[in-house]
């Protein structure tokens, strides 16, 4: 199995326009087993995305080190796919060209042509290959974006709330779709989400983070058999537990507005 991630004492801070510095990540250590699904959950703006970007190499950590299969992360690479919050498809390319972009960038498109068709079919976009992104719905674009991130067969897929902008039904369909892909190719997946249900439904482990600076508050193993029933007693128990911790972690601790 490949795709094991080790995060060791990672810290990162940003400098605001007014020169003050904000610590986004503080001394985070976390191990993610190969082929597992881990969710990062926590109040908004707490640095989940920063951690995800550090793993992808888009924004490197100031201190500490991240290893993917014992290789230190020094920059972005094709072994770690990234599904963005917005689909970020290139508007000047058709759906098929968009999905093939990563393969072409690496110069392996010719050998992997059939993979593109396979993934188009997998995300149910057959018949829309030659459409431009603006001609399709948000959900379809997000599916295309997922196919684009996956077609190069990365060891790790990092998901930055890719389902956040979708309606509830499309979202649930996509969740099943993602699980299917993960199961099929045993890809390690790390997902940032705000949705506790989504986290419990998808994850082997849920990592709860504290607000600024982000630290790991608690890691919860979800020991439910798959496929999971969203309404089952155990499911709801896990959900309640996470919500409790999140409250404790600081969300809504103080009223945001005073009258």
């Amino acid at each position: 199995m490949v795709g094991e991630i080790k995060i060791e004492n990672v810290s990162k801070s940003f400098v605001n326009p007014d020169k003050t510095s904000v610590t986004a990540l503080e001394n985070i250590s976390l191990n993610v087993e190969a082929g597992s699904f881990v969710s990062l959950i926590g109040p908004s703006g707490c640095g989940k995305t920063t951690l995800l970007r550090a793993i992808s190499g888009l924004g490197l950590a100031d201190e500490g080190q991240i290893y993917v299969d014992d290789e230190p992360v020094k920059g972005p690479g094709a072994d770690r796919g990234f599904a963005f919050q917005q689909s970020n498809l290139y508007p000047w390319l058709t759906i098929k060209e968009n999905i093939a972009f990563g393969l072409k960038a690496r110069g392996i498109y010719k050998e992997k042509k059939s993979d593109v068709d396979e993934y188009i079919e997998m995300v149910n976009l057959k018949g829309f290959e030659n459409s431009y992104p603006h001609q399709l719905s948000g959900g379809m674009n997000q599916r295309a974006s997922l196919a684009r991130a996956l077609v190069g067969k990365p060891k790790v897929l990092l998901l930055d709330e890719p389902l956040g902008a979708l309606d509830a039904f499309t979202r649930m369909n996509m969740q099943d779709e993602i699980l299917k892909i993960q199961h099929l190719h045993s890809i390690t997946m790390i997902m940032v989400t705000h949705d506790v249900d989504e986290a419990v439904y998808l994850s082997d482990r849920v990592v709860i983070m504290t607000p600024r600076p982000a630290k790991v508050e608690e890691v919860i193993d979800i020991q439910l058999s798959r496929p999971r029933a969203r309404g089952s007693q155990d499911f709801i128990q896990y959900r309640t537990k996470i919500l409790k911790i999140l409250n404790y972690a600081g969300e809504n601790k103080e009223p945001e507005y005073y009258l």
Binding site: L58, N88, Y90, W92, F101, A105, R106, H134
Partner: protein
């Protein structure tokens, strides 16, 4: 046609060698009848005719008014406002010279546009992607850019051995500036996310420039091309006035100094036609290259 034939020409207007405006009207008339005939069989032409008919009718109306005011009643000074017959006569009498002029201007424009365009794209891309280059180039574009290219003429005329080269240089400059600015601006306005997506696939820098930067900046580049086209015509005319031996600008200047305003108007009409053809080409080209934008923006 009736207006032209029935109202007698004002005696103040010098007579032309033939009713050339009438000939033009005849050609237009036959053409429109032909198009009308075809439109009965072709759906697309028919639709086009319906939409563009009023504009054509309006154009003819304007021609009629001009004909009556200038030619028939000579309400304006005859020297500066010749009859339409005499203007269109020029196209027949001076056709060889005009043809050469158009060819010469076109060549000049082509050289300037090719050199200025490619240089502009290159500098624009470098400014957009390379911070160091942008740092050193920025003051240069800021100072050179706003100076009208034609005001370089005294310097340029002494620097280059022929005035032809000088004209090419000025046109190059007038094309280079808007393309550089619009290209670098276009690149700077690209969403960072597009590059990050490419990064996550392990794309190399050059690949990102060619396959993300340039396509994303293309709408802006085309805007630069449009500015450059209109700007280059202005520069062309002025540049040719400075010592070229041929060209539309030279022709206009020469005829003006001889007080032959009919020829000046004919030259202007030709110029407008040329400019429009150039822009039309650009539009067709854009339509091909930016097909994906249809539906994203108001086309």
């Amino acid at each position: 046609m009736l207006v032209d034939r029935l109202i007698p020409l004002s005696p103040k207007q010098p007579a032309s060698n033939g009713p050339c405006f009438f000939y033009l009207l005849c050609i237009l008339g036959v053409l429109s009848l032909l198009i009308l005939a075809v439109s009965f069989f072709n759906e697309r032409i028919s639709e086009k005719l319906v939409s563009s008919g009023p504009v054509f009718a309006g154009g003819i109306l304007v021609l009629n008014i001009v004909n009556i005011v200038c030619g028939k009643f000579a309400l304006l000074p005859v020297l500066f406002f010749p009859s339409l017959d005499r203007i269109f006569e020029v196209f027949i009498n001076d056709r060889e010279l005009l043809g050469e002029c158009v060819l010469s201007s076109f060549k000049l424009l082509l050289y300037g546009y090719a050199i200025g365009g490619s240089l502009g794209l290159l500098t624009g891309i470098l400014i957009g992607f390379n911070k160091t280059f942008s740092y050193w180039m920025d003051p240069f574009t800021k100072i050179i850019g706003p100076i009208p290219p034609t005001s370089w003429s005294p310097l340029v005329l002494s620097l280059f051995s022929t005035s032809y080269q000088a004209a090419i240089f000025m046109i190059t400059l007038s094309v280079w500036f808007p393309i550089t600015i619009m290209t670098s601006n276009g690149i700077r306005n690209i969403s960072q996310a597009y590059f990050e997506v490419a990064d996550t696939f392990g794309a190399k820098k050059l690949y990102k420039i060619l396959h993300v930067g340039i396509p994303a900046a293309l709408p802006s580049v085309f805007l630069g091309l449009f500015y450059a086209t209109t700007g280059s015509f202005v520069t062309l005319i002025t540049a040719e006035m400075f010592g070229c031996k041929l060209g539309i600008g030279w022709y206009l200047n020469w005829q003006k100094s001889m007080m032959l305003y009919a020829n000046v108007y004919a030259g202007l009409i030709l110029l407008a036609l040329l400019c429009n053809i150039a822009l039309k080409f650009l539009f067709v080209f854009r339509e091909k290259a930016l097909n994906w934008q249809k539906g994203v923006i108001k086309w």
